[in-house]
Symmetry: C2
Subunit: 224 residues, 2 copies
DNA sequence: CCATCAATGTACGAACTGGTCCGTTAGTCA
DNA sequence: TGACTAACGGACCAGTTCGTACATTGATGG
């Protein structure tokens, strides 16, 4: 009894599981990043989709599992970026600069990811702990760093005795802080760490710092 | 008609506004740090107190204002620590090492503060923006850093051309990351950044890195 | 062309949660 | 000592929110 409806578009309802799933994850990523895990609203996520809340439960089971799925995807993106690093042909110093720059750029390009990681840390990383996939997926970056460090030490350019994981933490911390804490930092120090004009400056600063440390002759004498 | 009640302790109810207020803030700090702003429960905060939820609204007005009050107190603590810095009598290198160490220790000693800052950033620092007190209270650390940098440059030991605010960001980022992201980092890289045995190592590493950068001759040639 | 099932939409409910109403009690000061 | 007020307790309400029961529809194979 539908009056004058185009039979080609009866309700506009198209069945496309992959698209629906993807749309839910996109909306969820934004909503979780916007308001945190507890602050995110399942209804709001659904509203930002061409489907309904029912589908979230159909595909993911619940809010918790949806958040885990969102996290898994966000991490897989950075893992892929790391796998594309391709620094084997560079000399150690250039390789580290490259690594730092890629890490820097990836953080800047994915503020939602940073936000999700912050949120996950508020909850003690319980979702990562509960995800086989995430615990299995180790970072290719660590291996890359290890190889660069070995090469640099063999050539005698790197004198500092650093561990690959620690160096990764060092590089990540600056990239992460710049994005994650931009709001409080800007409010308190009146400096927008993400300002376009400053980006190149910070990217260079980070690389300079790391290289200076790695090549800083003997470890400087400790005073106190 | 209270049967056999000690008149000295009729109900155990003592009137102490300051204590009640303080207890609420302590409980709120823990609860907000535990579950985020939206995840924190006003009832739970009240339960962790010798008073009731009613008093939270009596003293603070609401959840939002309570969170702001908690933030204000947390920031005032670090500001006081910065004011006690006392590095004027040290040579520039030692002064920077001292500053880095104090920042490092303060972050480690106040994980709840770190958590609160993370949470505040998820919400775009809206509470800081809405707090006169917080916007007014600028960091003494910046002035201290500025003076140290000037002295170091005058003496010729510091060659890098850094800004005080940027250096502060650099130092803070590592200290912050180590505490804020310890859970995800540990889950993904199987390394506990807060492990006791590693603390000295990381503290030295941070100072070495900053000093290496500040004293690294000409700014290293930029490659890409 | 019909049976079947994955995919989807609607409406609803039970539990939770921030916030408030109203009454009570302990100090204190005239 | 009695009135006054700051400090306090407990019950309750209204709106929200996650999750689900149930109905429906489109594709697919026989």
């Amino acid at each position: 009894m539908t009056t004058a409806e185009d039979p080609a578009q009866p309700t506009g309802r198209v069945r496309d599981a992959a698209r629906t799933r993807g749309e839910i994850m996109d909306a969820a990523t934004r909503e979780f990043a916007r308001a945190g895990y507890a602050g995110a609203r399942v209804d709001e996520i659904a509203a930002r989709t061409r489907t309904t809340k029912r589908m979230i439960y159909y595909y993911f089971g619940g809010k918790e599992q949806l958040f885990t799925a969102v996290l898994e995807r966000a991490y897989s993106v950075i893992r892929e970026a790391e796998q594309r690093l391709d620094v084997e042909h560079l000399d150690p110093v250039a390789a580290i600069r490259r690594l730092a720059a890629v890490t820097f750029d990836h953080h800047e390009a994915h503020p939602d990811f940073i936000q999700l990681v912050s949120i996950e840390n508020v909850y003690g990383a319980e979702h990562i702990a509960g995800s086989e996939e995430l615990r299995r997926l180790s970072s290719p970056a660590i291996d890359v760093i290890r190889r660069i460090l070995d090469a640099g030490r063999a050539e005698g350019v790197f004198t500092a005795d650093v561990d690959a994981v620690d160096l990764h933490a060092m590089i990540s911390s600056f990239c992460f802080f710049r994005v994650a804490n931009r709001h409080t930092f800007c409010a308190l120090f009146d400096r927008d760490l993400l300002e376009r004009d400053r980006r190149e400056h910070y990217r260079t600063m980070l690389a300079d710092m790391v290289i200076a440390y790695l090549t800083s002759g003997e470890t400087p004498a400790r005073q106190h």
